[in-house]
């Protein structure tokens, strides 16, 4: 088997291995004819949250399973907290916490027992496991049910317990596959708050999610993948700029003002403003966001355009998602 061996020089290798965070290079995984991963590259810097977005079947869970040492890739390499997932899986397991796409807790044990047992299996001391378990029970609001078998839990409670189990040993790297799916808004906020605490202390997290506003709000960096390949990476704001940045909608009172409004916006540096005589509106992309608004207003005023309404609309990650994953089909 020639797994994970790339042509990079040994010197480069060693340098990379002292690096924390998560690095993935040219990872491939096939299931029969399906390329679940097809040369995937990504990089989650130490102490940051990497949001992993992608449509169903993009390969998110496959990546998480490979990083968690549950699955061997066909080729490419991946390192987690400085350890190679293929050559040193045991070191990876000592450094990571994993919550898969579907909650995996012992149904017959209580939350407290699950946490204690998985803590001890993560090689925590008995006492450390116990106090950490109490902390997490409190944090994830499971106190009222902590002594009931998990099979009596609602879906969201089970999910919360699953996340608590992933966090029990204070991992340096975390892989969470859709951690907030099925949670109520309060629990979702709490999950992100706990994650934020950990990340502030240096934990690196790779989090897949279908809630784009969440990724927008909580991820330091976002990687969008489709068909097993990385198609875009950047800070949420950068990705939005890539699909055109903020949009400006300007409504005027008189149809006669439309040409003047268009030239005023163009003069303010907005590329290609589009007038709509039917609604007396002009729409344009606003490069640089609201910082250009003062200039826009000055030019409109100077041209004597009577403004009825002016709004700046931020593109959402949904726009990014559709724009990027739509294009991906052309490949």
């Amino acid at each position: 088997m020639n797994l994970g061996v790339t042509n990079s020089s040994p010197g480069l290798h060693r340098e990379r291995e002292t690096h924390g965070g998560i690095q993935v290079e040219g990872l491939t995984k096939r299931y029969g004819g399906v390329h679940a991963l097809d040369g995937l590259d990504l990089n989650a810097p130490e102490g940051q949250v990497l949001g992993l977005l992608g449509p169903n079947g993009a390969g998110k869970s496959t990546l998480v399973r490979i990083l968690a040492t549950l699955l061997k890739p066909d080729s490419g390499r991946a390192s987690v907290c400085g350890f190679d997932v293929i050559r040193d899986p045991q070191a990876v397991r000592r450094s990571v916490g994993v919550a898969g796409q579907y909650a995996a807790v012992d149904e017959y044990l209580t939350a407290r027992e699950n946490l204690n047992i998985f803590g001890q299996l993560a090689r925590m001391g008995k006492r450390a496991a116990r106090s950490r378990a109490e902390e997490l029970i409190e944090r994830f609001d499971l106190g009222h049910a902590a002594d009931r078998p998990a099979r009596t839990y609602s879906g969201g409670m089970r999910r919360r317990l699953d996340l608590a189990v992933a966090l029990i040993a204070g991992p340096r790297c975390l892989f969470l596959d859709e951690p907030t799916t099925g949670l109520d808004p309060r629990a979702r906020v709490e999950v992100w708050a706990v994650l934020g605490d950990l990340v502030r202390q240096g934990t690196t997290a790779l989090v897949t999610t279908q809630y784009l506003e969440e990724a927008d709000q909580f991820a330091d960096l976002i990687t969008v993948i489709d068909h097993g390949r990385e198609i875009a990476t950047g800070k949420p704001a950068e990705l939005k700029d890539r699909v055109g940045g903020d949009h400006l909608d300007l409504a005027v009172r008189r149809a006669a003002d439309l040409p003047a409004a268009v030239s005023a916006l163009a003069a303010a540096g907005l590329p290609d403003p589009k007038p709509d005589p039917g609604t007396l509106c002009v729409t344009a992309v606003l490069p640089g966001g609201t910082s250009r608004m003062a200039e826009v207003l000055r030019k409109l005023d100077g041209a004597g355009v009577e403004v009825a309404d002016i709004t700046v609309r931020r593109p959402t990650l949904d726009d990014v998602f559709f724009a990027l994953t739509g294009k991906a089909d052309d490949r």
Binding site: V105, E113, Q120, M124, G170, L198
Partner: protein
Amino acid sequence: MTVTETRVAGSGFVLALRDCAVMTRRGMLRLGRVPDELAFNLVQPILFVLLFSYVFGGAIPLPGGGPFREYVVVAVFAHSLAFMGVGTGTGLAVDMSRGLIDRFRALPMAHVAVPVGRANAELLRALLVTGVLAIVGLLVGWRAHLGLLSTLAGFGLLLLFAYAMAWVGVTIGLSVRNPEVAGTAGLLWVLPLGFVSNGFVPISSMPEWLQPVAAWNPVTAVVTATRTLFGNPLGLAADPRFWPLAHPVQAAVIWSLGLIAVFVPLALLAFRSARSR
């Protein structure tokens, strides 16, 4: 919340033992949480003891003499323990299919602790079942006649056999992953194992070609050895043509240890190959 180094240190072997102990505790906790399973483990053998004692007991004259009840109770012991292995396999296959096994695999624990914990918890279950059966046996008139040491040796042999059967079940459970298939696969080999033996009928009453099979069956060895140690009627078992019947205790010990020696590595292999799926 703090991310501190709270992990225990130690040699790989000591840590592996600790993992086995934790997994055993988990298995034992489960035991009490699935009361219907435990009840089923008990109801069937109790029913068997009562049926064989009261329904068939009067009709079947025991070849070689002696009370039929004393003869049959030991067979029910061994049968029940062999059949428990089927449930062991099904239970483990449920774990496998629910993704819990992925949790274990992503942990730095010694993976051997997963099957070991299960098999150990099954041993506790076997102890409970044997205890209850012994009480029911005593109520219908079964007795052990050869003193405390010999009686304890008999029960020890039964439990050793139960442990071996648990490992067979664990291997099946780890190999097939689907609870229904695990159940069928378990029965497929336990049924002939249970019945092609001298548990309920003497081997001499079987067709010529089947007799060696029955004589070399581990259940036959365990049943004969236990009857010998309890001082219960043997029902013409002492057939000098077959070594296991002439040396039942040795045969039973060798069989049980041999099965454990074969199935522990097989179970580990099954766990490993399931991982790379």
